[in-house]
Amino acid sequence: QGLSGKVVGFSQIGSESGWRAAETSVTKAEAERLGIDLKFADAQQKQENQIKAIRGFIAQGVDAILVAPVVATGWEEVLTEAKEASIPVVLLDRGIEAPEDLYLTSVASDQVKEGRVAGEWLVGAVGDKECKVVELQGTVGSSPAINRKQGFEEGIAGAANVSIIRSQTGDFTRSKGKEVMEGFIKAEGGGAGICAVYSHNDDMAVGAIQAIKDAGLKPGTDILVVSIDAVPDIFAAMVAGEANATVELTPNMAGPAFAALDAYLNGGTVPEKFIITESKLYTPADDPQGEYDRRKGLGY
């Protein structure tokens, strides 16, 4: 009878971005479809709130727990408690540093790979032309920022003609992305020296595209734009020819998670430890208008 009637607690990080909101709404929709009683707790970006939430779920005796961990460390103790209470835990969208037996499975993307895919696309796109890249980092210290930076650097490591000349944080937001890009363009002689911008998420890329336009340049042509997440607005930009590539981070982490839980709770099947979602590359060749329409309703 599937997961119908089961109580599942979901500790979400917060609602800091459109992507996060989409993940939340997809998870809620999935739960509703499966007849799950989903207990949702927003941690307002704080790990301590997530730990409190998990403890709260344990105290309520839920059947399973989903956690989108805000940071990789610090979960051992509370997950041990969950384990002692025989509540399976599934991690969403990032991994953690903890013994693997503390959670059932982790449904996540490979953030380093996302960066690498972006980097490799850029290397391919510029061929052997000299290409100076500016990078818009995510929030300093956040794991996607660290991993996507690392991945991208790996991706361009082989190409001596591609190099990062400037890197600043845009805090994953549109307005900071725009502001930082503005600064980059000024600092690099009006943008003439910049061949591409790599942004750790689409929101900052959308901001950067506006900055490029304001400076009288053509995003997508004068300056290539590559970013990660695949939110609707970046596809809108692709339709307009202003963005060149994005790597998908699917908001549907809950689908595989619920499937794994179903198999485990109803059949005792222990799922794979790491369910890696696909890091699919989208370019203007991939029907951006269709992708835009498909995603628009997901709560981004």
Binding site: E48, I51, G74, S142
Partner: protein, 325 residues
């Protein structure tokens, strides 16, 4: 009854009422497990809030505590994992660093006469920045001492646990209450919050007390950082963001006047518990969207303060006229 005790009473009544209401809705909230979690989960907040209470009692404010907590966790993680120090030694180093940091801020406030709000805001940037310079990435701490601490607890009937850090928080509150209410330093703190000019004329060493207050606050924030690192077994530059606001809210809900001079350490304790209750209640409810969570937290904060004011003014002081000629 002493008139200054009234806000404390008001807060206590509100907490009891709120808890009873919450339990009537979710009986699961009434368990030693939940109560034990209140202590453990809010230990770092409570410890930092004790320091904040002193600062606010003296009419100041300390916006740097969250950042100092974050910095301390990173420092401890680095000392333990990279330098191979024993955690206790690392704690000692961290406390000394935090104390020096607080003393510097206090000195700037006392001698440069820059408002505390701004000095500690700069302190917040500095501590947060220093943490991310040391290591932007989170560092897991693996050490026998950490494991041992997390496995030490007092089991309550019903499965609840009084953990080391939960106990530590209670101890800090008790010591803090003694310090505030029963020592000369405590009197000086209240004096500063009441009227700094009078305090100075009455012989309170204002600069020294100011420095000590911020030293105490930062040291306790450092201790809260140590507790946080025990709690999460990690050091992370972005941990405990915004804790200063939670601490201020706890202090104010606890009946301490932000303008200084009035309040109790015990009130802050209840303020912390009340905030923990709100969090737990929201988790038990489990139906609030991200935005409603924020609205409800804000709304409850408003309600608590409003209720407290109402109870407080309902028993408003009648001026005593006992002058016998």
């Amino acid at each position: 009854m002493n008139r200054s005790l009234r806000p404390l009473l008001a807060t206590t009544i509100i907490f009891v009422l709120a808890y009873a209401l919450a339990v009537s809705q979710y009986p699961g909230l009434l368990s030693t497990r939940v109560l034990g979690n209140f202590l453990t989960d809010n230990a770092f907040l409570g410890i930092a809030a004790v320091g904040m209470t002193f600062v606010i009692l003296a009419g100041g404010i300390d916006l740097s505590v969250g950042a100092v907590i974050g910095f301390t966790t990173v420092l401890i993680a680095v000392l333990v994992m990279w330098a191979g120090l024993h955690p206790l030694a690392a704690f000692a180093v961290a406390l000394v660093v935090a104390a020096a940091f607080g003393a510097t801020m206090g000195a700037a406030i006392a001698y440069l006469q820059v408002p505390a709000f701004i000095v500690t805001l700069a302190g917040m940037f500095l501590a947060r920045g220093a943490a991310s310079v040391i290591s932007p990435d989170s560092i897991g701490i693996k050490h026998d001492f950490y494991t041992a601490v997390s496995q030490t607890y007092l089991l309550l009937p019903g499965g609840g646990r009084i953990t080391v850090i939960g106990g530590l928080m209670v101890a800090v509150f008790v010591l803090g209450a003694l310090l505030a209410h029963r020592t000369r330093f405590g009197s000086a703190v209240y004096a500063l919050g009441g009227n700094p000019t009078s305090a100075a004329l009455m012989g309170v060493p204002v600069p020294r007390t100011t420095i000590l207050i911020y030293t105490l606050s930062s040291t306790l924030a450092g201790l809260a950082g140590a507790v946080f690192s025990l709690y999460t077994k990690a050091g992370y530059s972005l941990s405990a963001v915004g804790v200063e606001l939670d601490a201020i809210a706890a202090v104010v809900i606890g009946g301490t006047l932000l303008t200084g001079g009035y309040g109790f350490i015990a009130g802050t304790f209840i303020g912390v518990l009340l905030q923990g209750l709100v969090q737990t209640y929201i988790v038990f409810d489990g139906s609030l969207s991200s935005w409603w969570t924020k609205i409800v937290i804000g709304g409850l904060l408003f309600m608590f303060i409003l209720l407290q004011r109402l109870i407080f003014s309902a028993s408003a002081p009648s001026r005593k006229a006992l002058w016998k000629a």
